[in-house]
Symmetry: C2
Subunit: 672 residues, 2 copies
């Protein structure tokens, strides 16, 4: 058994299924067929042999199969056919269909409910004669089909699934992605294709952030000025939101909305300035940051409108949870308002935290009446709040631990802020519930899982997928697979494969890059730009807009939007350098030299493309810095003494909102 | 003045605007700034100098500007900003906005009506101090903004618009694209992005083909079994169709529906078998071809349902035209039906043509009552039909000429069947109304224009854009620009540029190719596949499915789906060979050799990728044929006598539903 593979970490992996003992070569070969699973299942038993897929392959399914499962089965066939080009004969899978030729047999006990805690387990049994997928619910069966598609392999005889038994279930019941459709509006199609992506990596919750200072994105029939005046015409109709709920449920995904109050609420105030703590008028916010406009917790009109909005939304989103945000209200407008100050004094409300609690308790009543559980960001956790609210932790795991000790349920997003452009490895190693966490068994049960959060200050429909994917697949694995599955290099290897498969679902994270490069270059030859883009990453955390250059309508079409969080060639180079410094292998050195020489040569080519592309000229400095950096590295490899401090300093300088990701590695070469 | 450019054909082009006479060098330089216009405007006067675009650039607009024009203006700013990265300061353009810095001033007289024959003209006046766009209607102004975006240029000082005056208006009032959403369902997003593409090349009609044997795609509230049972769940709700009508109107595009009757109607009969000429039951058709199921023209129930459907649709589609199809009804089920034969005999209806006329006259009454003009394919033109119907000619221009002589209005689609995968040049040279056509002035007025037709047998949402674009831009130019604009090489050159710009609107015709290749290869290195794909084209006309291998759920993910109608490298090679054979230039020969050598070398690389990709193995023969072909060409260039008949024959053989496009050129090399 090889320890370098992820299977090495899976205690439950059993080789030599059945009675056939595998020799070492067979083990390696058999393991290879399982290399692309993501998230890694709880238990994989690898056998010997294959189930061969031909055009006669088809699905048999019970007479009581849910319509959702039938649709999912047909989609499975189309994706399998799309990858293999087999011209499968079976068209739409029908309930009670007994497919004649060997294929996939699906057995479920019942249609699952798309609610927190539903059974999502499944068992796959692939033999040379056929495949059996069994699950309590159709939700589990759908997860099993995604696993099966990841098991598709090919050899000189054609396509096959490897003989094996898989027993799988999620580690956490709440595995989410938050999409912020408010700061930058995201068209319906973006939500749909991302729901498909989520299903592929077994995520099961879409948290839909619908209001912000920059936009109110939900149609409200009782108070239409909210969306009409607060959205620049970019909002979801109620029919469209219902469409998303149905689309998600078809894929086993819960959808719950967030209406962020009392802060982050400027867009509400454009149509309803009477809700504000300070007199209006208000305009839709075009900048990024934390803003002062805040709902007035002393005003009954505010609760009237909130109740109307929540009541309409509760009818659209059947999920039991409802997110009220509650974050980052700094209370400046409360401090500045005479009548609010008087209200606090009169009621003995000590400070703004207590006032926000007062507000939260009022809306908790509304939500309770609507049969909804309230969830909000850390800040809603105030001493006097009841424990039937859920804490969504963006500030850190400590807050979550404290909440769990105090009896609150929670989910984690701190560490999963994919908008901050950190590498996948950073997110991957954040565990909501590490084994050494200081919680007892009862308290641990209160940690439901986590959510990747796609805040949309710096993304548009064109770029957003490349911020969500493929990194969110790594977070999905963290939330599904065992804690021990944590080999970063192996995660990255699998991420490369899953990333290609995700685009089959309509996601655009790879393909849009080239399109954006063609637009900037104004032509088809984007090689020099790609070479540079593959070694830079956008400024991380909150540095990208530290100069406040961006507003909501700014162009997100430039180098930092083409660059991604895990710069491909930088990662490759850094790995090579690490290996080389350890082993001094000549082959590694040769590969390093090749990359360095390419970067030296690229500068002239990059200069040429910027002649017709002024938008790229700012990046010339970067291209030059890469060239100089490569030159000193090559000189050092050639045994020359080099004075490189100035070069390293220049190469570390952010340019055009990106930074080179190979500087540390070069420094290690220089100081080896 | 250079005659090689398209301006050479434009009698109205005037160089040296104002008082500054241009010298020859200035002329060439000035002309270059106009090289990317498509469709070519009616009149371009080129001046000297530039209007420079900086971040202070903005739009001023009248207080009575339509909301449509305001939205279009804001979209213009975002696209300009996306290309230039200037961080324009102006956000959303508002009515009556007087932008302080020099920029674009838009003046319109009124909001245009989105109806046939509306004024779409515009005048652009670009001086070094500012740009003025004037038009009678906002529709014209929107065309002007598209022209302006095509005029964006760059030099070492930055981005600019060249000083010029443009006076423009369409040659034909009806410039359409038909999208068949019935054979393969197309999601809403596909319709929207294509509407944006249409607007970019000044098309103004979407003909929406909504029913077929393979699907009934429109929600019908009065007879819901039509869409519920006839669509596999893939249909447009009435809200969604209204959404498309609004989206299109916002872009100056009319939308009218086609409900194809009495043939092509199997999907109607699944839920309503009583409408059929022969007893049911019926199932949704999964094959391609012409099928026998036909509505029963003797059955009052048929007219009842048709009237209900047409009445609902007439309320959704405000356009004055309504397409009833009427094509390819072979009448076999009429012949076979006793009661239909009895009906004909009783009424003295001589043949099936007359029976179809009887049917058409009945539904003409319905449409007339609904205030709609009937349009149908050639076949609806029967001797006794009134002249207030419009003929949509798919069979040929002769039929259109005959119709015009008989007093019928018409549009042309014969020659614009983009689904048949013919090169753009073929479509480009088809003129609906060539100057030598045998029609008098009055008759000519009856030819309203034409429509590209995207029949969807062999496309899915993933591939359809690559069938529509960029070729439809060439058809758009034919329908907008002067007849004399017909230089094929120049059209292709401009098409390459417009193609890149079209993807900015969300179209996927370039970017999806690489995604499809990655899926098939199962990895990122698709070079060998791309090299092959760039010299093959899908089987043309109706040969692709001559073996009936395709059904509606077949995989459209393979080599013929990756290949496009104008294979890039084949076109380049063929042009090089033509030039070389004429001039024997060494540089051409060297370029030819490079391509041939690359194709020889590609075979080994292609063999390697097929090891993990059985779906591509069928194409090995093709790759080998290309290698052999290249080898004989190289041998011939090296002065060797080669016996190449067998090689040429093999290379001409279709493989994997595609064919090599460089065989004739190689044969010309061999026989030079």
């Amino acid at each position: 058994m090889k320890n370098t593979r992820f299977f090495g970490k899976l205690g439950s992996l059993i080789l030599g299924l059945g009675f056939v003992p595998l020799n070492q070569a067979s083990v390696v070969e058999a393991e290879a067929a399982f290399e692309n699973l993501m998230p890694v299942p709880q238990e994989v038993k690898i056998g010997q042999g294959e189930f061969r897929v031909g055009k006669e392959f088809g699905i048999s399914i019970g007479a009581d199969a849910s319509s959702r499962l039938l649709s999912a089965s047909s989609r499975f066939l189309r994706r399998l056919d799309g990858r293999t080009g087999l011209f499968l004969q079976q068209d739409y899978v029908e309930a009670g269909e007994a497919h004649e030729a060997p294929g996939l047999e699906i057995a479920t006990e019942r249609a699952g409910e798309v609610v927190l805690g539903e059974d999502e387990s499944y068992r796959l049994d692939i033999s040379a004669e056929g495949i059996r997928l069994a699950a309590s619910t159709d939700l589990g069966a759908m997860h099993g089909m995604e696993t099966l598609l990841q098991l598709l392999n090919a050899d000189d005889k054609g396509y096959y699934f490897p003989v094996s038994k898989i027993n799988d279930a999620p580690r956490f019941p709440w595995r989410g992605l938050m999409i912020d459709s408010a700061r930058h509006f995201m068209p319906l199609d973006m939500i749909k294709r991302n729901l498909d992506g989520m299903a592929a990596v077994k995520l099961n919750v879409l948290h839909w952030h619908l209001t912000e200072d920059q936009g109110f994105r939900a149609e409200v029939k009782s108070f239409p000025r909210l969306h009409e005046m607060g959205s620049d015409g970019m909002f979801y109709t109620q029919d469209q939101m219902r469409e998303i709920v149905v689309y998600a449920a078809e894929r086993g995904i819960r959808v719950y909305p967030e209406f962020d109050v009392p802060g982050h609420a400027t867009a509400w105030l454009v149509g309803h300035p009477e809700m504000a703590s300070m007199p209006g008028p208000y305009e839709i916010e075009r900048g990024w940051g934390i803003f002062d406009p805040t709902l007035d917790p002393t005003n009954e009109r505010v609760y009237e409108i909130l109740e109307a909005v929540f009541t309409e939304m509760a009818a659209i989103f059947p999920d039991e949870y409802f997110h009220i945000g509650g974050d980052e209200n700094e209370g400046h407008h409360w401090d500045a308002s005479e009548h609010i100050q008087a209200f606090m004094k009169e009621r003995g409300i000590a400070d703004n935290h207590a006032l926000q609690s007062h507000f939260n308790k009022r809306i908790l009543k509304v939500l309770t009446k609507l049969d909804k559980k309230m969830i909000g960001w850390d800040e809603i956790l105030q001493p006097d709040m009841p424990t039937n609210i859920m804490i969504h932790s963006w500030r850190g795991r400590d807050a979550m631990v404290a909440a769990a000790k105090d009896g609150y349920t929670s989910i984690l997003s701190n560490g999963y802020y994919i908008d901050l452009m950190q590498p996948a490895s950073d997110h991957y190693l954040v565990d909501p519930l590490p084994s050494d966490i200081e919680l007892d068994a009862e308290q641990r049960k209160r940690v439901f899982g986590g959510e990747a959060t796609m805040w949309s200050e710096h993304v548009t429909n064109e770029t957003v997928d490349s911020r969500i994917w493929p990194r969110t697949a790594a977070i999905a694995e963290r939330l599904w697979s065992a804690e021990e599955i944590n080999d970063v290099e192996d995660m990255y290897r699998r991420l490369d494969t899953i990333s290609i498969q995700l685009e089959e679902l309509g996601l655009t994270h790879i393909r849009n890059r080239e399109m954006m490069m063609r637009r900037l270059v104004g032509g088809y030859d984007v090689k020099a730009l790609r070479t540079l883009a593959d070694v830079v990453e956008p400024l991380k955390i909150y540095r990208r807009n530290s100069d406040l250059s961006y507003r909501s309508f700014s162009p997100y079409t430039l180098l930092p939007d083409i660059a991604v969080a895990d710069a491909k060639d930088a990662r490759k180079f850094n790995t090579l350098v690490d290996g080389f410094l350890k082993t001094k292998h000549k082959a590694d050195e040769a590969a390093i030299r090749l990359m360095l020489e390419r970067w030296v040569d690229n500068h002239v080519a990059f200069e040429q493309i910027t002649e017709g592309a002024p938008a790229l000229r700012e990046a010339l400095l970067l291209s030059k810095a890469l060239k100089e950096l490569s030159e000193v590295a090559l000189a050092s490899l050639n045994g020359k003494e080099v004075e490189a401090d100035a070069v390293l300093t220049r190469a570390r300088e952010p340019v055009a909102k990106v930074e080179l990701q190979v500087v540390d590695a070069v420094e290690r070469i220089l100081t080896r």
